[in-house]
């Protein structure tokens, strides 16, 4: 069975450490112009059903440094727009002999579905509101570079937690590595406390209390649709209640890091002073994204002891395939 990277909640602490150490090693090699170990000539499918700039470019760069070839595939202009089911698309890519798949899709659980039928490693580049594991790895790497460790830190995740895959992946990763996680936001955008039982974090609705004494603040992007859905009255109201700026940062620790997965709505989640200060790690997060994605690709392929092509040359019945990959 191939190794996948679907969700941080599936990973053990040791696996997260291994990925973060590997990412630091790749960073050292890339920035120091040192040789990068090859993981063989493989073709990785880049299957982005949702728009993405940074994640896509970041995976492309990671593949490039590792000597992997990428095959691009976007939903418009593909067979998906002609009504093909996701399962059939995945099976098609399997028999196109792609050896790995990076996928982003609007539906939570779509990466799990892809892994069921693809037969090779699947890396989740964001599935609906479920998880975005490589973003959490990039954020963790960034925090570790600035703080040395994640253990014992207090991290406040501020904003639209309910609809955020970044929040979920970050919460799992940070809590597994010993940090205390807080979810901060309005009642309409954070799971109600009774529903938080299977997510590792404590709920705060008041910004002052939520970021009080925090070592790290992770701001989440606010989607405009939330106003239309009646979850918020206005952007201005949200900014007045939850914006991270020079004033509100006073509640956090004096050396508190300010993070954002991007793209930023300047003047909404963050003001310019917070986004561009020394405390901001926004650019580091983007750069580290490449190295954690190198680590992720290396990790999923590294487990593939049999380096020969997958047994796609002997087509089996659909049922037999399912049993092999399930």
């Amino acid at each position: 069975m191939p190794r996948n990277l679907i969700a941080i909640r599936h990973l053990h602490r040791e696996e997260i450490s291994e990925l973060l150490e590997s990412a630091a090693d790749f960073k050292d090699r890339v920035t120091g112009n040192k040789p990068i170990p090859s993981i063989g000539k493989k073709v990785v499918g880049m299957l982005f059903f949702e728009n993405s700039t940074r994640t896509r470019v970041s995976f492309e760069q990671a593949a490039h440094y590792l000597g992997l070839k990428t095959a691009n595939f976007s939903s418009s202009g593909s067979s998906m727009s002609k009504g093909e089911t996701l399962k059939d698309t995945i099976l098609t890519l399997r028999y196109e002999r792609l050896e790995g798949l990076v996928m982003r899709h609007k539906a939570s659980g779509s990466a799990t579905l892809a892994a069921r039928y693809f037969g090779g490693p699947v890396l989740n580049a964001g599935d609906g509101q479920h998880e975005h594991p490589t973003q959490a790895l990039a954020d963790a790497m960034t925090i570790m570079e600035r703080r040395g460790s994640l253990d014992g830190l207090t991290v406040a995740i501020v904003g639209d937690v309910e609809h955020s895959r970044v929040a979920r992946s970050n919460a799992w990763l940070l809590s597994k590595m010993g940090a205390e996680v807080r979810f901060v936001g309005p009642r309409t955008l954070v799971p109600i406390p009774q529903h938080i039982g299977m997510l590792p974090g404590e709920v705060f609705h008041d910004l002052h209390a939520g970021i009080g004494g925090a070592d790290v603040i992770i701001c989440l992007r606010l989607q405009k649709e939330r106003m239309q859905e009646g979850m918020l009255s206005s952007i201005g109201e949200y900014a007045r209640m939850y914006q991270i700026n020079r004033e509100t940062l006073k509640y956090a620790k004096s050396d508190c890091l300010v993070m954002h997965p991007g793209p930023i709505n300047r003047g909404v989640e963050l003001d310019d002073a917070a986004a561009d200060s020394d405390r901001s790690t926004i650019h580091m997060q983007i750069e580290n994204g490449i190295f954690v994605r190198m680590a992720a690709l290396n990790w999923v392929f590294g487990s593939d002891e049999d380096r020969s092509p997958k047994s796609v040359d002997k087509p089996k019945s659909a049922k037999a395939k399912k049993e092999v990959t399930a």
């Binding site: 939570s108 659980g109 579905l113 509101q129 938080i196 997510l199």
Partner: protein, 440 residues
């Protein structure tokens, strides 16, 4: 032709009968049952030792998908599945394409169900309460009743407008038709894929809050109370919904409700890693709800068990969770699940089990079914169940055209062995073998 069902445990809730005895079927009618049944001129004897002999089972809630959804199920395959499940009467839902809102469509359903290839069970159609189930104009309910509908419902498209529902109920009071209602506030449930709770929060799936069900059950119960319309609430899942029904019954409203096996055997954590076979409507709820469901089945607040047989093609089910359809096939598993989870666990007595699977749904929908009394059903409707037969359900070996079920590989104790509807319409291979052994 005289057929003797010999030495079984006769369970007939319509006469509170629970005795060991024989049932004699002559031509296509039950003529005698009890301990001193004549055994002269018997042409065929079924040894029912250790088995239950019950009125044919009655399912108030089945989707046969025809017309319009023949890739999922047809009247032929659906009635065959019903016979294999022990049913002799099933109510088919109007959310077909087109919806069952005109008498000619009812004629079509009844014709197909009576065809020789069909399973031999009685099909009692439920008509659309509003035209095209659009929730605006009432269907021609008097004509539909004349054509043979036994109830009216907008099923999967619950009427949101309380005024339309009130008028529909008023018309149904006049026509003496029960209204069946799936209760869901579509604003509260919009975009939801599973129960709103800890699992949905973890999986990042939009939740269907319990209030979406509770509020509509409360509204419909109040409308039933004030109009006097007989209301049957379909597939309850929350403790709140059951409490509303309990209260409505206390106030004297003519309200009944059903539950599907999914809702008394599973909770929302079964969704696990986005397993779409556990996607159902209303969604699987929590352990608190499940406990109240079991208690309310035992105390009678939940009147009956419906398979809510909802066939879907495999390509529809093998999709991202939020895109997959709600529902599972159930005709061939309901007896197994019910006996395993309710009867053998002491929640329902054998007599109450059959009451909820046959007599009560027949009474609610005023069907000539649910009894062994000679002459009270159009033909002999008898089911033989082996309550102790242990078996593993294999979705590959079913009569239904669709295989969407969370019970594949499940172990059950209790199985339908023989179904009679006038004549034998289903006999299980195990029963034949045992019968053969008994004869030699």
């Amino acid at each position: 032709m005289r057929t003797l069902l010999k030495n079984g445990r006769i369970l007939d809730p319509s006469q509170d009968l629970d005795i060991i005895g024989d049932v004699l079927i002559e031509m296509d009618q039950v003529v005698e049952f009890g301990q001193n049944v004549s055994n002269e001129d018997i042409e065929e004897t079924y040894d029912c030792t250790g088995m239950w002999i019950t009125p044919g089972l009655v399912d108030p809630h089945v989707h046969l998908r025809e017309p319009g959804g023949e890739d999922r199920e047809t009247i032929i395959t659906g009635t065959q599945a019903a016979a294999a499940g022990g049913y002799t009467t099933i109510c088919c839902m109007p959310n077909t394409s087109p919806a069952l809102d005109t008498p000619s469509l009812i004629d079509f359903i009844l014709d197909r169900a009576a065809s020789p290839e069909a399973g031999g069970v009685f099909v009692a159609p439920v008509g659309a309460l509003t035209k095209a189930m659009a929730g605006a104009e009432l269907s021609d309910l008097a004509s539909l009743k004349k054509a043979g509908i036994v109830a009216a419902s907008d099923e999967a498209f619950p009427i949101q407008n309380s005024l339309v529902m009130t008028r529909g109920m008023e018309m149904c009071v006049q026509l003496d038709l029960p209204v069946m209602a799936h209760c869901e506030d579509l604003n509260l449930s919009a975009g939801g894929a599973m129960n709103e709770g800890t699992m949905s929060a973890m999986l990042g799936l939009r939740g269907i809050p319990r209030t979406a069900e509770d509020i509509m059950v409360a509204r419909n119960c109040l409308l039933s109370l004030f109009t006097g319309c007989q209301l049957h609430i379909m597939r309850v899942s929350t403790w709140g919904a059951v409490e509303m029904v309990r209260q409505a019954k206390y106030l004297g409203a003519p309200v009944t409700c059903e539950i599907s096996p999914l809702h008394f055997s599973f909770t929302d954590d079964m969704v696990g890693e986005f397993d779409t076979t556990y996607k159902t409507l209303p969604p699987l709820r929590t352990q608190v709800d499940l406990d109240i469901m079991l208690q309310s089945l035992a105390d009678g607040t939940i009147d009956c068990i419906a398979s809510d047989h909802s066939p879907y093609a495999s390509h529809e089910v093998e999709a991202p969770f939020e895109d997959a359809p709600f529902g599972a096939v159930g005709l061939e598993t309901t007896v197994g699940v019910t006996l395993t989870h309710l009867t053998h666990k002491g929640i329902l007595s054998p007599l109450d089990t059959i009451r909820k699977l046959s007599t009560k749904p027949a009474q609610i929908l005023r069907l000539e079914a649910g009894t062994l009394k000679p002459g009270e059903t159009p033909v002999a409707q008898v089911t033989v169940i082996d309550p102790n037969h242990e078996w593993t359900f294999d979705k590959g070996k079913t009569f239904s055209k669709s295989k969407n079920t969370p019970y594949h590989g499940a172990k059950f104790k209790g199985k339908t062995m023989l179904t009679f509807s006038g004549n034998e319409i289903y006999r299980d291979a195990h029963f034949s073998a045992e019968r053969y052994r008994a004869l030699v």
